[in-house]
Amino acid sequence: MANQEGDHYISYLDQQGKYRGLLAWLLSTDHKRIGLMYFYVIATFFFIAVSLGLLMRTELIAPGETIMSPQTYNGLFTVHGIIMIFIIVIPGLSVVFGNFFLPILIGAKDVAFPKLNLLSFYLFLLGAIMAVLSQFLGDGPPDTGWSFYVPYSVESSTNVIFALTAAFILGFSSILTGINFIVTIHRMRAPGMTFMRMPLFPWSIYATAWIQVLATPIIGITLLMVVAERAFSIGFFDPALGGDPILFQHLFWIYSHPAVYIMILPAMGVVTEIFPTFSQKPVFGYTAIAISSLTIAFIGYFVWGHHMFTSGTSYFSRLFFSLLTFLVAVPSAIKVFNWVATMYGGSIDLKPPLLYAVGFIFLFMIGGLTGLIQGALATNIQVHDTAFVVAHFHYIIFGGMGFAAFAGIHYWYPKMFGKMYNIRFANIAWVVIFTGFNLFYFPQLVIGMQGMPRRYFDYLPQFKTGQVLSTIGSYILVTGLLMMLINLLATRKKGKTAPANPWKGVTLEWQIPSPPPLENFDIIPEIKRRPYFFGESKNEK
């Protein structure tokens, strides 16, 4: 705490340990260095997957074969999905910002098991590399889509087992991270920091970690069953052998629906940190936000069947899942109201982090409300497996989780690197990204409603306008992303030195120097009140 600028200290970036150079990073058990390594790996894969998406959009700029064969297209959307889902959005925010800021926000020197943390990273890296290799080894890239639905994933002659193993290893890494974070939150909080005095990003990480721990094993065993099915025709999912393909869908979504909450909860946590800081006002409804994270995690565990409304599940089951799907929207809406209420009457400072956070609310609401259209049994029939679904989950995943990630990067960048990016340029990039995003996905909502199926390489002439608009939007979006990237890369070394607390934040990470020293705190702070305390005058309660 005593360390402010001017004092001599060695930041985690410059610290010299047992090893020198690159090894000092690769073998580091420091949560901040591990967080940054995840950040670089994930950012790299993000731009790979974005390029694949761009190729797909270019293919769809005109009906018929434009730049690639249908088989290549199938391979592309599979690898785009696997990279985006398993390597970027599921781990993404929790491994980057969770690793970097969870210990700092709860006043700890590191996570509970630093070595396990490094092991998680290497499992992640191994899984990520295998996922990419699966595209080049064997008889062509897997073409099943990221969801590996049987019977096609059993019958496809492509290298599915390799991709399944990659997903299994990534899942294992996710489990270990989850365990680490739960134990960290239970055992390492600073003295005086009760659960109800914990900032809300750790709360969301806590809820996320429980889903990671309790849902991921199910996908692990399911993937093993598919491997057994391919290798020994064990029959679980093969109707010819008495099995049931729908059972695969149950097992798959028992994990993969909660996985959506693994993606979105940390995103909600990030923006919850941003709103109070840029409104200079305590967060509205602290308890409601904290509890709603747990509620989302809990209810979110029981809505998996809404992915199977057209699969032939029983009517009662569909009714049940539809009801719960509507219920899970309630805690999400509570959060949205709280964020808006936090801004209400605050002294709003419209800096890039807040812009992205506000963009998050807007896009997340479009994503959430279009989700309800699919959650209703009747309308689901119309939009199931159409571009509408594609647009919906990109609004949630990219518009929600992606924008929250960008918000987090712009919020914590000065803390992580001790440098300040060009704020004006970041604002312009935001405008380009936001415009491109909506031009990209909104037309897909429309053509989806009109009947454009998802995952199709070709389309009828009537969808041409929408598809072309969408492709143009994708180009604008990628331009914006590149602008953001250039801004951050250019200021990484040469930018202005950032002060310890550029945004006048009040949570613990802003009380230590930028970039933080190796063990974050010289003296572990003692917590005496709830977070988001902006001084007496503004805290009447």
């Binding site: 200290y9 610290q15 590191d110 721990v213 093993l224 020994f232 025709s233």
Partner: protein
């Protein structure tokens, strides 16, 4: 913080135990996926399941249950022995646990090779000509007991490490978290078997 930036790692027994318990939760859900598949097919093909289960050797299954339950007790006792600073006894108890685990594996080997001799293994022609429910039962049987045997094997490796560390005195009264966590893991292996045994061997 000064120039010597050595990263301190603290020792927190409660944290280690909590982490292990949460890991066990994930193991439960890993097997849970298979139990779910079992439940669904059991409900669909109950007659076939009865028929297929009667072909398993209940004696071998019961014997293995006895081995595992007893080994669970000995490993629990070894922790008490360490707590009472009786390293020799702890060493003996872990050794007995390992022997019982070995007997379990031998028994399993005999059982599986017997089935293989009748050409009953996943993907075999004999299995494919059976009624669908029996085929699925054997699929589940091999996958569940196989995954369980893998866990027994991992548990044996863990116990061997403990054996060496107790002998060398690295595990002692003040620091026995590894033994405690390995014990927890071993009990989980036992716990899974307690459910597997009636579901696979006692449905006839």
């Amino acid at each position: 913080m000064s120039d010597h930036a050595v990263h301190s790692e603290h020792y927190d027994r409660e944290a280690g135990k909590l982490g292990m318990w949460i890991f066990l939760f994930t193991e439960l859900f890993l097997f849970g996926g298979l139990f779910l598949v079992y439940a669904v097919f059991r409900a669909t093909y109950s007659a076939d399941f009865h028929e297929a289960a009667s072909e398993l050797n209940t004696f071998i299954g019961t014997l293995n249950t006895v081995f595992l339950l007893t080994s669970s007790m000995t490993v629990a006792m070894s922790i008490t022995a360490i707590q009472k600073n009786n390293r020799t006894l702890a060493f003996m108890l872990i050794l007995i646990t390992l022997i019982l685990a070995g007997l379990f594996m031998v028994d399993k080997y005999i059982e599986w090779s017997h089935e293989f001799a009748y050409k009953v293994y996943p993907g075999s022609e004999v299995l494919k000509n059976m009624p669908r429910g029996e085929l699925l039962f054997f699929g589940l049987y091999f996958m569940m007991t196989g995954l369980h045997a893998l866990h027994v094997f991992i548990g044996m490796i863990l116990l061997t490490i403990n054996l060496v560390k107790v002998k060398k005195g690295i595990i002692h009264r003040e620091n026995y978290l590894l033994l405690e966590n390995s014990g927890l893991y071993w009990h989980l292996v036992d716990l899974i078997w307690i459910f597997l045994f009636p579901l696979l061997y006692l449905v006839s």
